[in-house]
């Protein structure tokens, strides 16, 4: 079979694919979660340190959350930019 399948290249594609292809949406979701405070009470333990706002209200997230969310989104945008750069540079 190794004559027909380049296992090394395949393994690279799978591993890098999972890291990037699954990681970027996960980071995006994480960023969104940091930005949008979960409805108060249910997850108070997790975000008690910063902006544990009034119950039920969507208050502004604290600075730490904002920075964290910003980082997540910057990585996502950076990934897209890297992709475009890869295409421009010849890509294959």
């Amino acid at each position: 079979m190794s004559e027909f399948i380049e296992w090394g290249a395949l393994a690279h594609v799978v591993i890098a694919g999972i890291v990037v292809g699954a990681g970027i949406p996960a980071l995006f979701a994480l960023g969104l979660r940091l930005l949008v405070l979960p409805d108060g009470g249910t997850s108070a333990g997790a975000d008690g340190a910063q902006g544990g706002g009034p119950v039920g209200a969507r208050t502004r997230p604290g600075t730490a959350r904002l920075v964290g969310a910003g980082l997540c989104f910057v990585v996502c945008v950076g990934a897209i930019a890297t992709g475009i750069g890869f295409l421009i540079s010849g890509g294959h």
Binding site: G21, A22, P25, L35, S43, I80, G91, H92
Partner: protein, 416 residues
């Protein structure tokens, strides 16, 4: 003179293939954005067309090769290329009519392999290359894509649990459009170059360009234009299957699927393990159904797609071989014109068949009814729907008065 005419014919056919390529593959990038209504259908195809166009100009490292490593480069003549292109176009149109996504590049490879077989026999085909570069990747691509997209979707579903739905879907709409745009751009860079490569090869073979020529500007412009035009007209039937047929999709799944597609397509070409855009995109959409708790994948639809992928190479190959024999049998430019005429006639027939049950931007998102959509051939389904309309009323007209009369008589007799 004949050579020049044949060259013109090959260029026109290559542009036609380029058109069907764009047309066939709009759904890979935009089906999910259309299905989740992140973009209006026409906006989505316009965006995809523009990005395909931009992509075609982005990277111009075009090599004048066709089916490299799959067929013996010495047996490639204009006739062989022409017959191969016709095989690819016909298969693209048939699968479009059936609403099945299938790889345009595999269709082209199949057509060329078929016409090489017809031209010089089995010695012209490098079979290990065909297995290693076409058949095995076609099996692996969806598996890899399903794994990546399912993992991504699962993480996203976990992380967004408990968040207000309106905000999540608004956020993910952006992510979805962004990642889908990247898929479109990648498609433009990869696939437009294939057509450019074919035309350049034909120009060199026909003596209209020197062997070390770079791609002439008019070739770049026309390839970019025809692919974008095809993309804009949109293979709505395929978009519908990808967006509505496989899984019911929300914006979170849409973003996971498109990011997975973009990542796997680009990483696979980076690591030199080329996978078909169509196979990856389809696998990613399936994966977004596998990874989302509570979502179901319609494996029947997926099975039909897999069957079509398996058939791509032989089917396009048979058409390519037939075209080569016909063209060679008749001989000269007349033979090529005859094949071209047949191609036009076939395309027209397929177009008319599609009008019997049209799918366009107005009904692309209608609910998917697997019972009615089932069966490989919408043509058959249409005939089935039309037949009762003619037959059934006639029968019931005859039957109902009689049976009513009988019922009435019986009731009057039994209850005087």
């Amino acid at each position: 003179m004949t050579e020049t005419l044949l060259l013109v014919l090959v260029v026109v056919t290559a542009l036609a293939f380029d058109f069907t390529n764009g047309f066939h593959d709009t759904g890979n990038a935009m089906a999910t954005s259309i299905a989740t209504r992140a973009l209006k259908p026409r906006t989505a195809v316009l965006l995809s067309a523009v990005l395909n166009m931009v992509g075609a100009f982005l990277s111009l490292s075009v090599a004048a090769t066709i089916a490299k490593g799959l067929v013996d480069a010495n047996v490639i003549t204009l006739e062989v290329v022409f017959a191969g292109l016709v095989g690819g176009i016909v298969w693209n149109l048939v699968t479009w009519l059936l609403g099945l996504p299938s790889s345009s590049s595999h269709a082209l490879v199949g057509g060329v392999v078929g016409s090489v077989l017809a031209a010089v026999g089995t010695s012209g085909v490098i079979w290990t290359g065909v297995v290693a570069k076409v058949l095995v990747p076609a099996l692996l691509a969806p598996v890899v894509a399903i794994a990546v997209a399912a993992t991504g979707t699962w993480f996203v579903a976990r992380l967004t649990r408990g968040l207000p739905q309106d905000l999540t879907s608004r956020g993910f709409r952006w992510g979805q459009v962004g990642s889908a745009s990247l898929v479109s751009l990648a498609h433009g860079t990869n696939d437009a170059q294939k057509s450019m490569g074919i035309i350049l090869l034909a120009l060199i073979a026909g003596g209209a360009a020197p062997a070390d020529s770079s791609v002439p500007f008019w070739v770049i412009v026309s390839c970019a234009f025809f692919m974008a035009l095809g993309t804009y007209l949109g293979g709505w039937r395929i978009i519908r299957t990808l967006g509505k047929g496989l899984v019911e999709i929300d914006t979170r799944q849409g973003m996971s699927a498109e990011t997975s597609s973009a990542a796997v397509i680009m990483l696979s070409s980076y690591f030199g393990f080329s996978l078909s855009t169509t196979h990856v995109a389809t696998g990613s959409i399936m994966g977004s159904g596998v990874g989302m708790p509570g979502a179901t994948v319609r494996w029947g639809v997926a099975g039909r797609m897999l069957a079509a992928w398996g058939l791509t190479l032989p089917a396009a190959g048979i058409v390519g071989a037939l075209c080569f024999w016909l063209q060679h049998g008749v001989g000269g430019f007349g033979g090529s014109m005859l094949v071209f005429g047949l191609l036009l006639a076939t395309s027209a027939l397929i177009w008319f068949a599609s009008r019997r049950k049209p799918v366009d931007h107005t009904n692309v998102n209608e609910a998917w009814d697997e019972d009615r959509a089932a069966g490989l051939a919408p043509v058959a389904a249409t005939t089935g729907a039309a037949a009762p309309a003619h037959v059934a009323p006639v029968e019931s007209d005859h039957a109902s008065p009689v049976s009513e009369a009988i019922t009435v008589t019986t009731s009057t007799r039994s209850h005087p």
